[in-house]
Amino acid sequence: MDTIKKITKQQLFLPFFCLLLVLLINLIKSPTFFNIGIQNGVLYGRLIDVLNRGSEIAILAVGQTLVVAVSAGTDISVGSVMSLSACGTCMMLAGYGVNSTTQLAVPMGIGILFGILLGGVCGCINGALVAKLKIQPMVATLILFTAARAIGLLLCNNQITYIRYEPYKYLGNFIPGCPIPTAIFVTIAVIIVVSIFLRKTALGLYIQSAGINSRAARISGINSALICFVCYVICGLCAGIAGMVASSRIYSADSNNIGLNYELDAILAVALGGNSLGGGKFNLAGAVVGAYTIQAITTTLLAMGVSTDQAPVIKAIIVVIIVVVQAPTFKEWLSNSEAKRRALAAEGGQKA
C-alpha cells in the first residue's frame, strides 16, 4: 500500500499513467498500433508517427512550462506565433508576394534564423507586457493570439507560399540516409539546450522562486521582472522553432492552419505533466511526456475516425478534468471526505 502511494505521489506518475493508459487502449483496439517497419529506408509506424508529430507540441511545452512556472499564466499566442514565424521564413526564402519557388532568395539558414528570431520578438512583446506592465499573461498574449496570424497573412500577401526546395523539407521530414524523422532530433536538441540552460545557470531556481512568490524573490535580490521576461522570450523562441518544423513538413506557410489549436495542446501537456497551472515548481520532463501523451491521444482519435475539427471537444474535457483535480478546493474536499470516512471507520471500530 505504501509503495503504491509513493509511486502515485511522484510528479511523473500522472503523465506516464495517462500515456500507458492511451497505449493500452490502442493495444486492445488495434494491435497493429505497435508495428514498426521500414519503408523506403525510413522508419514507419504509428509509434514513430506519435514521436514525430508530437515534436511541435513537445517543443512548445518546454517554453510553456517556463511561462506557467514564472507567471502563473499561460502564453496562448504560441500557435499564432508558430504561424507567423513560418510565414516570415517563407517570405524571406521566396521573396515577398511570390507564390511558389524552387530557387531561394536568401540562404536557407538566414531564413530559418529570421523565423526563429521573429518568434523571439513576439516573446519579447509578450514578456514586456507581462513583466513590465504587469498585465494578466493571458490577456497580454491574447493580443498576439489574434494579431500574429493576421500579420503572417500580410507577410505572405494573403496566399500560401510554397518553398519547393529539397533541403527545406529536411527539418520536418527526413534527412536522406537517416531513418529517424529529423523533428525528433530537433526536439531532443531543444530539450537538452533548455535543460542545460536551467541546470548550469541558476535560472531554473530563479524561475521557481519568482513563480512561487515574486515579491519575496524580488526582496531577496532576484530581478523577477527580468526572469519573467526571459521566460517569455524562451517561449517565443520555442514557438518559432516549432513553427519552422511545422512549416517544413508541408514545405509552405499556410497561415490559417499552421499551429491551429496548438496552444490548447501545449497547455494541456504542461498540466498533464503534473505542473501546477498556478505557477511555482515545474518539471520539464513531465511536460515533454505530457506532450507525447497528447499526441498519442490525437493519433488515437484520428485513427478512430474523429476529425481534426472535433478532437478539441475531448481535449477540452480532459483539460477541465485535470484542472479540477488540481484545484485546491477540490483537494481539500477530497481530503475532508477521506478524513470523514476514516473518522466514521474509527467510530465503527470503537462501537464494535
Binding site: L129, F145, L154, V313, V323, A327, T329
Partner: protein
C-alpha cells in the same frame, strides 16, 4: 480629494473612447465621403452588423467587472449559429424551439463555467479556454459543412432577418436615381440596444450590479462585507453566456449561415470593445456605455478597411489588436499614476 481623482481617471478613459470614435468616424467621412460614408445609413449599418457583438460585449463587461474573463464567446456563437442553421436547414425544425434551446444552452454553459470558476476557484482563462475549444469542437460534431439558411427553409426566420424598421423620413437622402432613401434598422439593433439599456440598469441600480463592482474592486473586502463572492462570480458567467446566446441569434440573423470557422476571433473583439470602453482588466471599473462605443470603434475599423477595398481583411484584426494593446498600456499607466499620487 482622492474620490475626485478616481472619478476623473475613469471618466477620462471613457472620454478618450468617445473622442476616438468621433475622430475615427470623422476621418472616415473626410476620406471616403464619395463612397457614402457620410450617410446616416452607414452609421446604422455599423449597428446592424455589430448587433451580436454589442450583446456579447455587454456580457463580457459584466464578467470583466468581477476581474475575470470569458474567451468562450466566439465559439459559443459559432455553435449557436450552427444549431440554428442545422436545425432549420437540415432538419427543418421550427425556429422558436431552437431559439429557446440556444438560450438554455447558454444558461447551462455559463452555469458550468461559472461553477468551476466561482466555486472551485480555477483560473477563468483556463476554464473558458476549454469552453472555447469545446464549443468549437461541438460545432464540428454537429456538422462540418457550411449551411446557409434560405427563405424556403424557414420563412419566419427569414422574415425576421430581413425586417426593416424605417426611421423618420427627414433622415433620408436622395440617391443618384433621384429617389428618396429612408434609413432603416433591423430588429437585431433593437434587441442589442435593449440589452445595453437593461445591463446598464442592472449594473447601476440593482444589488447584483453593485455586487459585481464590489467583487471586482476587492474580493477580500467584498467577502468581509458579507457578499457571496462565489455566487456573484457564477452569476456573472451565466449572464455572459446567456447574453452571448442572444448575441449568437443576432449574429445568425445577420449572417444567415452556420459554419465551423464562423466568429473566429470574436472573443478578441468583445474583450477589445470592453477594454477600449474603459473596463479595467483588473475588475471593478467599467460600464456598458463605454463598451457600446468600444464596439462602434471596432466596427468603424472594419468598415474603414472594407471601404478602402485595397487593404487585406486581416488589417482589421491587426488594428483591433493594436488598439487593445494601446488601451491596455494606457490603463496600466493610469494605474501607475494613481498609485504614485496615493503614496
Amino acid at each position: 480629494m482622492k474620490k475626485i481623482n478616481k472619478f476623473s481617471g475613469n471618466t477620462v478613459l471613457l472620454l478618450i473612447t468617445i473622442v476616438l470614435f468621433v475622430a475615427m468616424y470623422a476621418v472616415g467621412c473626410v476620406i471616403y465621403s464619395a463612397k457614402g460614408f457620410t450617410h446616416v445609413q452607414t452609421f446604422l449599418n455599423l449597428l446592424i452588423t455589430n448587433a451580436g457583438l454589442i450583446c456579447v460585449a455587454c456580457g463580457m463587461t459584466c464578467v470583466m467587472l468581477t476581474g475575470g474573463i470569458d474567451i468562450s464567446v466566439g465559439s459559443l456563437i459559432a455553435m449557436d449559429c450552427m444549431i440554428l442553421a442545422y436545425g432549420m436547414g437540415v432538419k427543418g425544425w421550427p425556429c422558436i424551439p431552437l431559439i429557446i434551446l440556444i438560450l438554455v444552452i447558454g444558461l447551462v454553459f455559463g452555469a458550468v463555467q461559472g461553477y468551476l470558476i466561482g466555486y472551485l476557484k480555477i483560473q477563468p482563462f483556463i476554464i473558458t479556454m476549454a469552453g472555447m475549444f469545446f464549443a468549437r469542437g461541438m460545432t464540428a460534431v454537429i456538422c462540418t459543412d457550411q449551411i446557409s439558411i434560405t427563405q424556403d427553409m424557414n420563412p419566419m426566420f427569414y422574415k425576421w432577418a430581413n425586417a426593416k424598421i424605417n426611421l423618420p423620413g427627414f433622415l433620408g437622402y436622395v440617391n443618384k436615381k433621384g429617389k428618396t432613401v429612408v434609413p432603416f434598422i433591423r430588429p437585431t439593433v433593437v434587441i442589442a440596444l435593449l440589452v445595453v439599456a437593461i445591463i446598464f440598469f442592472i449594473l447601476k441600480y440593482t444589488k447584483f450590479g453593485r455586487n459585481l463592482y464590489a467583487v471586482g474592486g476587492n474580493q477580500q473586502s467584498a467577502t468581509m462585507m458579507g457578499l457571496n463572492v462565489k455566487a456573484t462570480k457564477m452569476k456573472a458567467y451565466i449572464l455572459s453566456s446567456f447574453l452571448c446566446s442572444i448575441g449568437g441569434i443576432c449574429y445568425c440573423l445577420n449572417t444567415m449561415s452556420g459554419s465551423v470557422q464562423q466568429a473566429l476571433g470574436f472573443e478578441m473583439n468583445a474583450i477589445a470593445s470592453s477594454v477600449i470602453g474603459g473596463t479595467l482588466l483588473t475588475g471593478g471599473v467599467g460600464n456598458v456605455i463605454g463598451s457600446l462605443f468600444g464596439v462602434l470603434i471596432n466596427g468603424t475599423i472594419s468598415t474603414l478597411v472594407t471601404t478602402n477595398g485595397k487593404l487585406l481583411s486581416s488589417w482589421s484584426n491587426i488594428m483591433t489588436a493594436a488598439l487593445l494593446c494601446f488601451f491596455i498600456i494606457l490603463q496600466s499607466l493610469f494605474a501607475y499614476f494613481k498609485n504614485r499620487n496615493n503614496r
